[in-house]
Subunit: 418 residues, 4 copies
């Protein structure tokens, strides 16, 4: 194994820090108020530079941070080494671990008895709840930043096993409009183009799922002159995609048209056996969802006569009729797991992690007032992150005048008509 280049990790943290102005402000504020003093905070995420700055800021806010990766391939050893140099931070992760090793590392993190979890896809929370199905067991709460994770938390509520408050950070406008639409959109397409050296213009790109991630992917693929097909299971979203000018059809039809396929549904087997049978020679398959289950790689392997790594991070499966299907990054998150992938842009993570941080501080403060269950992030928290971000951009906005404020609260005809 190659020696880890700590200096490379330091430089990556420098760059990220320079492009995360929300964190710069929060580090100063919470450095003074120390909201996480005497608190063990477990962090599960893709541990690359932006996550590093988030972790540093938590430590600066008084937390004893224990971190791990949320995915085998998406954490970077150099960044983790540079974090390990800093005080108050302990890591349990290594790039390229097996699924089993990752599970053990997650359990190790929980052995630290965290008081708070900042989670990705509810990975740590699900294990904590499995350990403690009947009580909070010292956990103040959790903040969750993905669609997948909020879905899992809701499932826990449904089964009566969630005994602490959770903030659905994913559901705030500050997160999903920016992280999902712009972050996933740009970074996934960048890595797709980088890994394949192919053009988007004129190509048929099939986007599975028209949630916020799917919307960003579809709009930005069209913004680079691709011809986009959307597949959906919800009729409202399907109609929305249709009215936005995309072609909408079931995957069983879309399968034979696509040059590229990108899954962004949060569910499994979105591309599977029957779809692979119809695809064109040379089709490229990528996943933008959290887990590597949206593209059923077992089905694909089962159908293939031969497979080889045809480019770095691109595996070619040759079927018995000669058609070649190309799978990116083993079906893992294309914007994180591909060889040259960098994850979301820094400004996006500044906002997502900034919201996580503000939400976590709010939950800590209101710990005695919040019931167990999944809660929306309070409007004021979300609003304040937006205000900080606008301030860093030097973008000004309007304020309601008193007359306008009154108008917004009126209903009587005589108060409404001038």
């Amino acid at each position: 194994m190659a020696a880890v280049d700590v200096d490379s990790g330091r430089r990556k943290l420098d760059w990220a820090r320079a492009h995360m102005p929300i964190h710069a402000r929060l580090r100063q504020r919470f450095g003074e108020t120390q909201p996480f003093a005497d608190t063990v905070v477990a962090v599960c995420s893709h541990v690359e530079a932006k996550t590093g700055v988030f972790i540093e800021t938590l430590a600066a806010a008084g937390a004893e941070v224990v971190f791990t990766g949320s995915e085998p391939m998406s954490s970077q050893d150099d960044v983790m080494a540079a974090l390990a140099e800093q005080s108050g931070i302990t890591g349990h992760m290594r790039h390229g671990v097996s699924d089993d090793e990752l599970a053990r590392l997650h359990e190790t993190v929980l052995d630290h008895s965290p008081n708070f979890i900042l989670d990705d896809a509810a990975e740590l929370t699900a294990r904590w709840v499995a350990r403690h199905p009947n009580a909070a067991a010292g956990l103040v709460g959790t903040c969750e930043q993905t669609t997948t994770g909020v879905q899992r938390l809701q499932a826990m509520v449904g089964q009566g096993v969630l005994h602490f408050p959770a903030y659905a950070v994913n559901d705030t406008p500050m997160k999903h409009y920016f992280d999902n639409v712009h972050g996933t959109g740009e970074s996934t397409l960048t890595n797709l183009c980088q890994a394949t050296n192919l053009l988007l213009a004129g190509q048929r790109v099939v986007i599975a799922g028209f949630g916020y991630c799917g919307r960003g992917l579809a709009e930005k693929a069209r913004g680079w002159n691709a011809r986009v097909i959307v597949t959906e299971v919800d009729p409202r979203r399907a109609l929305e995609a249709h009215m936005a000018g995309f072609d909408v059809m079931p995957m069983s039809e879309a399968a034979r048209w696509g040059d590229f396929f990108i899954t962004a549904t949060g569910n499994r087997d979105v591309l599977r056996d029957g779809h692979f049978r119809q695809m064109k020679d040379g089709a490229v398959l990528a996943n933008a969802g959290h887990f590597n289950i949206e593209i059923n790689a077992d089905d694909l392997a089962g159908m293939a006569e031969t497979r080889r790594e045809v480019r770095d991070g691109v595996e070619e499966f040759t079927l018995n009729d000669g058609r070649r299907l190309n799978l990116l990054a083993e079906g893992r998150l294309a914007n994180l797991a591909a060889p040259t992938a960098m994850g979301h842009p820094a400004e996006v993570m500044d906002q997502t992690f900034g919201t996580q941080l503000m939400a976590a501080v709010d939950l800590m403060e209101r710990r005695n007032d919040l019931n167990a269950g999944v809660h929306p992030v309070p409007d004021a928290v979300d609003r304040e992150v937006a205000e900080i971000k606008l301030a860093t951009l030097e973008v000004g906005i309007d304020e309601l005048t008193e007359t306008q404020q009154r108008f917004a609260e009126a209903w009587r005809t005589e108060d409404i008509k001038a």
Copy 2:
């Protein structure tokens, strides 16, 4: 007064009917089930052809319909004459009434003691509540289709005067994504171009408000190569506009850059004295919000040395420094009140009124289960309208497999990982 051309009204209804396939299906379904038998339904809206088809469909569903206009200039006499020929429909409206006359017509409608109100901007509901501040007084409920109206209903709830259930039809995805984004967007810009014979390409278009209407206006103005500035009071929306690639600034700054200004906030005095002082010679001012209060026309008149109708539906105000500001349609809804304006496209109103209709039928059925207050339209209702619309478009979508359905409800690590 010119004689009303009933045949013109009939032809307009024919055309609208041919482009409202959701209504065709609902007319057949509710013609059989008669959900509004023995019910007086008051309708307040812009009574042109699409509203006419909606009213016809209500009558076919068994209702005794009493309609009025929601705005002095936006109803068409020929259409109303063609509706008056049909049984079960009574109208109280005339194009070009004064504000006082309109108030009297609204009161006349309420004299019919309606059991149900299908409302626009809560105009009839507000009067009903003013008449009966302490009881429902026979009203089963109301369905409201505008942002402004839902805001007023919430204000009534806040003051404890709403004694019946109301469905916030405006807030359904089926309404706001389509009606506000696409309907308001396209019809407002069409009328702006038509009325002024000016180009959008290269022009600075200032959009006040980045709600669903503002978003549609901004995207479509950019889609025709305009350079768009957005103003907002909410930092999240402001940031969203910024990240979508629009320039964001306070109106006090935007005022001096705009060639066109379009207000879409739902509030008053969005353009006022101080803004007019900074505008360029030739600036064009239009309103896309419900009431004619977003542009303070009194301020403008007070500052003007002379005013004249410089084109049909365009009034030119010449200020004492020689600058000319052009106001469209007296600051009324530019897509309805301008001389050649047609209102929203037919397919959009098919969907909006289809949702109103389905929601109203649902509220009638669940009248004994719903508390007084503002309720979201049940998900299943909204979903069904979408399914009908997709069927008329012959657009197919996917269905979750059983495995996928189970996955969507799972949370345990071992159930999630393949």
Copy 3:
């Protein structure tokens, strides 16, 4: 016949003048230099307000102007009446003339023995050449502003009958990028939406021809969320459309997909019998090319069982299988001939006519140096119009430094590498 409203014409001229800043500057310049002194200038165009300002400016530049319309339905009587009040201007046109009458009016214009023709679709020039196939006969030259007209002029050259110089004003960047792309694009779609009250979002719009007009139509239809299909006869243009993200196919296939069809090819029978047979019920057909021959209305009439005006300017043809096809403005230019049509936006015509004017003055000055034949407008003329336009917009640009100027003329390795 209704009395002509001269005041309405004056107001329209006022509005156009206020939005044509290039003409304001040229009127002042040529008012002093009088380049058309003692010259009879024949103008053929759509005589509405912007053309009126062009004609006024010619007269101010010393010309004795004789104008006529280029199309039966596209000239406006009120504007022509307001022009007739001005000195140096004679008109031979009336709105709604028959094709035969229009031919006679064109011949009448030529009876004035013009020294110069500013032409549209080469209408007057073709008649002049037919009168004088062997000599210029006193004509100094002609300037032509349409694709169709330049094509005809080239055909005359091919047959050896063009005995004077002609400037292909249509081919300058200043004309086709602006007039064709933005002017035709926006005004045609505006009138389509206005005349039909239908939505573009989600609709299949078929654009026949991917020249500059077709490109503008396709881009702007997509900019309003339509799903666009392009048909072409040139493989380069077809490929360009494909790479721009549009669907490309033969019209025989596109015919069954389109909700709207817009022809912009400059050729005839682009939509004909076999295509009509495949179209969907309710399809809308519009033409953006100069002549009313792109949509074969005779074929359509021959197939129809009944026809009626279903909306102002929209004729519905019902075929024997019940399908209804809707033809806009009799297949004439949809942005000029429809009842509420206004033609191109004022700023666009300011630029097009400004280029015509500058080119005509240049041709007059260089009359002794130019051979008979079709010539490109000199680069310097085109460039100067652009400079004037940028000045009116207060848009600044860069200038090459001396070093950069030298670099642009170098080729030796040692001069190129820093």
Copy 4:
């Protein structure tokens, strides 16, 4: 120095070959006809996989190919090693050579006495002409694929030193619409995002030059929600950019607004001393033009207090006021010279090199009919490449009917009007 991985080169060639269907067809055709039998063909280009397939195809067409790189950093050793295994191909290039070494390698290529040059930026041709300023010296001709190169060839013509025919392949629609607009656009932005891990959405991107490359960059940056500023020296192009909805201003103003700067002018010192003084802290500078002279790196180095490689391929210059400016790939072509850069997408180069190949074969055939000088590629050649490409895409187009063909050649009124 690391050993060269020949297998990696072979795999890259495999992938490129699979995505270059035009070359597959031409290899078959020219493999039979052998148009380059007994001909030494010199190729200068960025020698990575797509160029490799082009070179292979030339060899298959009978040529004895001698290749070199057109830029020190843009050729890949593994690909060159894999080419060296093939017969009929000789290379003189190594990744990362100095400017002086590159010059020597270019001279070595010319020592092979080529009969034909397929050139990039006229690098070999300029040296040949410097060697032989008075005669062709056995060179049949040259085909040039860049804007820069055509400019240099024209300069040679101006000085009377070009004694053989040259085809301006760059100027064909088949090249500049696709290679410049889509190829440069997508690959440059991909590499910018990859190298910086920053977001385009909401950022101010300054594009210097609105030629075909600049246009693609501007449209695609906007397609990812950037706010784009364009700078230009030509007023027509400036106006075109303005009408397309971009902000246009001199670089002296744009300098203080940009988050990213991309040069695409073909000229030198486009970003220089005075501009650097105004830029924001953190601004990123990239070049998309052929030579590394558009951004004056000497000026930047002269102003910097410190410089360091802050990310792979990104050098940070810290000025004495603390502002940090980040230069990509030393100011070389950002889509080729950056560490993870892949150059243009394969389909684009298939088309560009396909046109080069067809043009070269045509020039060989017509060698006795063509004068010395710069010639446009014959329309039929360009058209045929387009036809082949459409065939590989299975995209069909229309054909003119006989009636339409006649119409296109008519000019008389009676032949035009139906």
